[in-house]
C-alpha cells in the first residue's frame, strides 16, 4: 500500500494509476463474466479493442459516444470545485434538449447561423435553468444539492416523454414519439461522412477555457479556497452562496449543451431516453479524475470508447445485447471500486493532531 501511495504522489500520476487500476479491475471482472457465458475472454477483448478503435468508423463511434459524457463530466466537475456533489447532469441534459428544441420549434425558419446559435444557447440555458432550483435551495435554505438534482433528473426525463408524446410530437412520424427532425441549418457540422460532429470540438475548447479559468484566475482560486474551508468566507470576504449558484449554473449549461448537441446532431430529433447514461457516466468520470479537467477529458474519451465498444460487440459477435449491458455495467463497477479504494488510500495518514 505504501507503494501505491508513492506511485500516486502527484495528481496527474495519481489519475493515471487510477485509470490503469480501473482498466485492470474491469479486465478481471469482464474475463470472469465472459468465461461464465462461455466466451473466450481473449477473443472478446480483442473484439472490444477492435470495436473501440479498430477502424476509422469505430474511432468515430467512440468519439461520438464520448462527447456527451465529457460535457456531463465537466457539468459535475464545475460545482465539485466548490465541494458540491451534483448528480443532476442527466436532468440538465434533458432540460437543455427541451429548451434547444423549443428554440427550433419557435423559429423554424430563422436563418441558419441564427437558428443554430439559438438552439445551442437554448440548450445551455435550459441546462442552467434546471440547475437553478437546486442551486438556490442549496445556497439559501439549505437543501442538499445531491438529493434535489437527483430527483429532478426523473422530472426532466418525464417532461421530454410527455412533450414528444403530446404537444411536440411530429405528426409525420407514424407512431414513433419524437419531435420534428432538426433541419441541417440547426445542426453542428459533422466530420466527413462519420458521425463525429463539431460538438466534440466545442467540448474540447470549453474544457481548455474551463481549465484556464479554474487554475489560473482569481475565480478559480476562490473556489479552491472555499472548497477547502467554507468558513473562510469571513476571512476572505468571498461569500459562498453566490458561488454555489454560479457553479451550478455553469455546470448545468455544460450538461444542457450535451443534451442539445446529442438531440440535434446525433439523434436528429427530440426523443425519450436520449441521455443514454451520459449523466451517470460523466459523474463517475469526473469523480475518478479527481475533478481535474485534463484527466476528466482523457477519461471521458476512454469511457466513451468502452461504451461504444459494447455497442459494437453486439454487432460483431454472437453475444446478446443484454451481455454487452453487463459488460458496460462492469466497467462502472470497476470505476467505482477503484475510485472508492483510492479515496481510502488518500485518507490514510492525513489526519493532523
Amino acid at each position: 500500500m505504501t507503494t501505491v501511495a508513492a506511485l500516486a504522489a502527484t495528481p496527474l500520476r495519481a489519475a493515471f494509476v487510477r485509470a490503469a487500476a480501473a482498466i485492470g479491475v474491469f479486465a478481471a471482472l469482464a474475463s470472469l463474466f465472459f468465461v461464465s457465458i462461455g466466451q473466450p475472454p481473449a477473443t472478446m477483448f480483442v473484439e472490444i479493442a477492435r470495436a473501440a478503435a479498430g477502424s476509422g468508423y469505430a474511432v468515430g463511434e467512440s468519439l461520438v459516444r464520448a462527447t456527451p459524457i465529457m460535457l456531463c463530466a465537466l457539468a459535475t466537475l464545475v460545482p465539485a470545485r466548490l465541494g458540491l456533489v451534483s448528480v443532476g447532469a442527466d436532468g440538465q441534459l434533458y432540460a437543455g434538449a427541451i429548451v434547444g428544441t423549443g428554440a427550433l420549434l419557435a423559429w423554424p425558419l430563422a436563418p441558419g447561423p441564427v437558428l443554430l446559435s439559438a438552439v445551442l444557447v437554448g440548450g445551455a440555458i435550459g441546462g442552467a435553468l434546471w440547475a437553478l432550483g437546486p442551486a438556490l435551495l442549496r445556497a439559501f435554505v439549505p437543501v442538499h444539492e445531491t438529493i434535489s438534482t437527483l430527483m429532478l433528473n426523473w422530472v426532466a426525463a418525464m417532461l421530454v416523454t410527455w412533450l414528444v408524446h403530446g404537444a411536440w410530437r411530429n405528426p409525420a412520424s407514424q407512431g414513433w414519439p419524437a419531435s420534428i427532425e432538426f433541419p441541417d441549418t440547426a445542426r453542428l457540422p459533422v466530420l466527413g461522412d462519420s458521425r463525429v460532429h463539431a460538438g466534440l470540438a466545442l467540448a474540447l475548447v470549453l474544457a481548455v477555457v474551463l481549465h484556464a479559468v479554474l487554475t489560473r484566475t482569481r475565480s478559480g482560486l476562490v473556489l479552491d479556497v472555499l472548497r477547502d474551508n467554507p468558513r473562510l468566507q469571513a476571512v476572505t470576504g468571498c461569500a459562498v452562496a453566490p458561488r454555489i449558484v454560479a457553479t451550478m449554473l455553469v455546470g448545468g449549461a455544460f450538461a444542457g449543451l450535451a443534451g442539445i448537441v446529442e438531440t440535434s446532431v446525433v439523434q436528429g430529433r427530440l426523443q425519450s431516453d436520449l441521455a443514454n447514461g451520459a449523466g451517470l457516466a460523466g459523474f463517475l468520470v469526473a469523480w475518478l479524475a479527481g475533478n481535474r479537467v485534463p484527466q476528466t477529458v482523457a477519461l471521458a474519451l476512454l469511457v466513451g470508447a468502452v461504451l461504444a465498444a459494447g455497442d459494437g460487440l453486439q454487432i460483431a459477435t454472437a453475444v446478446p445485447s443484454s451481455a454487452t449491458l453487463v459488460v458496460q455495467g462492469l466497467m462502472f463497477v470497476a470505476l467505482l471500486a477503484v475510485g472508492g479504494a483510492s479515496a481510502r488510500w488518500r485518507g490514510v495518514g492525513h489526519g493532523r493532531g
Binding site: 505504501t2 479552491d224 479556497v225 474551508n229 468558513r231 469571513a234 476571512v235 476572505t236 468571498c238 493532531g353
Partner: protein, 503 residues
C-alpha cells in the same frame, strides 16, 4: 492490569521532502507520566501518531512488552491498548455524552434505543471518570475542559493501557488544567502509561515523572522530571536560554478610542460594551464557556451579531446583517485557526494572501504570491519556510504562527487575538507576545483573549472579566490580583453560586 512497556525503536518518518521523525527512540512505561517536549515542528505529534498507527514508519519498529508489533491503522493500536487524544477533539458535538461513549465502546449492544439509555455500565464509567457531568448533555454545550475529560474517558473505555495526550492543556484555563493534572496523576497511579505532549513547564512541574525532549525529529534528551529545572528544559528544547519576558509598554493617557463595542449581542454574548484605546492592551478573562470565544468570534466576523455594533476608528466594522469582510486594519486571530482561518490544502502563499483574495488581479500570479509570502514566513519563523507547501501539513504551532503572520502583516490599528500563543513553543510565544506589545507601543488597540491569568495581568493595561455572556468587571491590570479576578470569573461577586445553592 500489568503495567505496559511501549518501546519505539529508531522510528523514521518523512513526508516527501520533510523529515518529520528521524531515528527516534523512546520508552513509555506504565505507572509513569512522560512529558514530551520540543519546539514547534520537532516531530512530537508525528512520533505519537506513529505509536498510534495513524502514520506508518519508514524505518524502525515498535515493541509492546518486548513483542514486536506492527500497526497498520489506529484500530491495531487500540487493540494493543494504546489510546490517543488529539488536540482536535473527536467527539460528535450534536450527540449526547452517553452516545459519544457508546460509539467508542466495543461492547456496546447493537441496539441502544433512543438516547442510548441501556448500557448502564457507560454511565458508571462516566461517573467514575468525569463526576458531575450529565450523560444526557449535548456534548457541544460542555466546556472545553469537560470535553477533554470525556475524550480521556472514551479512550479508557477501549481498555487502553497507554494514553497519549497531544497538547491537552493548550486551551484549558489553569483551573481546568489542574483537574487534568490530577486525572493524569491518578491514571499513572493506577498503572497506566501516560504521554503528555506540552509546551508548558507548568504541566511538567505538576504531573510529569520523566521528560523527553525532541528536536528536529530526534529524541535529544531524557531526564527525570525532578532534575529538569524550567530553564534547563527550555534550553534543551530550543537551544537557547529563555529570554526574560518583555515589560508591557507604558500607556500615554487620553489616547482616542479605536475599537468600540456597543450593546453587542451574539449567541451567548449579551449586551457587551467595551472601548479599547490606541496603545492599550485590554485582556479578556473568563472561565471557559463564559462567552469569551463567542465574543471574539463576533468581533472577528465568524459569528453574526444579533444586536449592537462594533466600530474601528469610527468606521462601522460589524453590525447585524452585515456580511463579514476582511479589514486590513484589523488583525483577527481566531481561537481555532485550523478550522476557521486556514485553507488546509492550499499553499502557505495562498493562505497568507487570504485577506487580499477578493482584490487579487483577475489573473492570479502564483509566483508573486510566493514572493510576497517570504517576508511574513521569515518574520514569524514558520517552518518549513516553503511558500508552496500545503498549510495543512504544518505542525500545530507552525500553523498558528502562519495565521499570526498573516494577520499582523501591514500595520493593523487593532488586534483581536483569541488565545494567540496557543500551541506555540517558548520562543514563538515570546515572539508573538513581543509583536503585540510592540504594536500597542505604536498606537495599536489590542484586545487579548487569554487563558493564563498571570500572563494577562503581566502584559495588559486593563483586564475585563466575562461571566455568563456578560462583562462583569473592568479592572486595572497594574493593581488587580489573580485572586480578585478569579472571584469575578467564578461569578461569586455578582450572584450566589448556583451549585452551592442547589446543594
Amino acid at each position: 492490569m500489568a503495567p505496559v512497556e511501549l518501546r519505539l525503536n529508531g522510528l523514521c518518518k518523512r513526508f516527501r521532502d520533510v523529515v518529520a521523525v528521524h531515528d527516534a527512540s523512546l520508552v513509555i512505561r506504565g505507572g509513569e507520566v512522560l512529558a514530551l517536549l520540543g519546539e514547534n515542528g520537532a516531530g512530537k505529534s508525528t512520533l505519537m501518531r506513529l505509536a498510534y498507527g495513524m502514520v506508518r514508519p519508514d524505518a524502525g519498529h515498535i515493541e509492546i512488552d518486548a513483542r514486536r508489533v506492527r500497526f497498520d491503522a489506529p484500530r491495531d493500536a487500540v487493540a494493543a491498548g494504546i489510546g490517543m487524544v488529539f488536540q482536535q477533539f473527536s467527539l460528535i458535538d450534536t450527540l449526547s455524552v452517553r452516545e459519544n461513549l457508546a460509539l467508542a465502546w466495543p461492547r456496546a449492544p447493537w441496539w441502544l434505543g433512543r438516547d442510548a439509555r441501556r448500557p448502564g455500565a457507560l454511565d458508571a464509567h462516566l461517573a467514575r471518570l468525569v463526576p458531575g457531568v450529565d450523560p444526557r448533555a449535548r456534548t457541544g454545550d460542555l466546556a472545553v475542559g469537560v470535553r477533554q475529560q470525556i475524550e480521556i474517558a472514551k479512550v479508557l473505555l477501549r481498555e487502553a493501557r497507554c494514553v497519549i495526550l497531544d497538547e491537552p492543556t493548550a486551551v484549558l484555563t489553569p483551573a481546568e488544567a489542574g483537574a487534568l493534572h490530577a486525572r493524569v496523576r491518578a491514571l499513572a497511579r493506577d498503572g497506566f502509561a501516560v504521554v503528555l505532549i506540552t509546551h508548558k513547564t507548568a504541566d511538567v512541574r505538576a504531573c510529569a515523572d520523566r521528560v523527553a525532549v525532541m528536536r528536529a525529529g530526534r529524541v535529544v534528551g531524557e531526564a527525570p522530571a525532578a532534575d529538569a529545572a524550567d530553564a534547563r528544559i527550555v534550553e534543551w528544547m530550543v537551544g537557547v536560554a529563555p529570554a526574560p519576558a518583555a515589560a508591557r509598554p507604558a500607556r500615554a493617557a487620553d489616547t482616542p478610542v479605536r475599537l468600540s463595542v456597543r450593546g453587542l449581542c451574539a449567541g451567548p454574548v449579551r449586551d457587551v460594551a467595551l472601548d479599547v484605546h490606541a496603545g492599550e492592551i485590554v485582556a479578556v478573562a473568563g472561565v471557559s464557556g463564559s462567552g469569551q470565544v463567542a465574543l471574539a468570534e463576533a468581533l472577528t466576523g465568524l459569528r453574526p451579531l444579533d444586536a449592537g455594533q462594533v466600530t474601528l476608528d469610527g468606521q462601522a466594522l460589524r453590525a447585524p446583517g452585515r456580511p463579514a469582510r476582511p479589514v486590513a486594519a484589523l488583525a483577527a486571530i481566531p481561537a481555532d485557526p485550523r478550522r476557521t482561518a486556514i485553507a488546509p490544502s492550499r499553499s502557505l502563499a495562498v493562505n497568507l494572501a487570504l485577506k487580499r483574495l477578493a482584490v487579487q488581479p483577475w489573473r492570479v500570479r502564483r509566483a508573486a504570491l510566493e514572493e510576497q509570502a517570504r517576508a511574513p514566513i521569515a518574520r514569524f519563523d514558520v517552518r518549513p519556510p516553503d511558500p508552496r507547501r500545503p498549510a495543512g501539513t504544518l505542525s500545530g504551532g507552525n500553523l498558528q504562527k502562519l495565521v499570526i503572520a498573516r494577520e499582523l502583516q501591514g500595520d493593523p490599528t487593532a488586534v483581536v487575538a483569541c488565545y494567540p500563543t496557543m500551541g506555540l513553543d517558548v520562543v514563538a510565544t515570546a515572539q508573538v507576545r513581543d509583536a503585540m506589545l510592540t504594536l500597542a507601543a505604536n498606537g495599536c488597540a489590542v484586545l487579548w483573549f487569554g487563558e493564563d491569568l498571570d500572563d494577562l495581568l503581566a502584559h495588559a493595561h486593563r483586564i475585563v472579566v466575562m461571566f455568563d455572556g456578560r462583562l462583569v468587571a473592568d479592572l486595572d491590570a497594574h493593581t488587580a490580583t489573580p485572586q480578585q479576578v478569579g472571584v469575578w470569573m467564578s461569578g461569586h461577586a455578582i450572584a450566589p453560586d448556583p451549585l452551592r445553592q442547589a446543594a
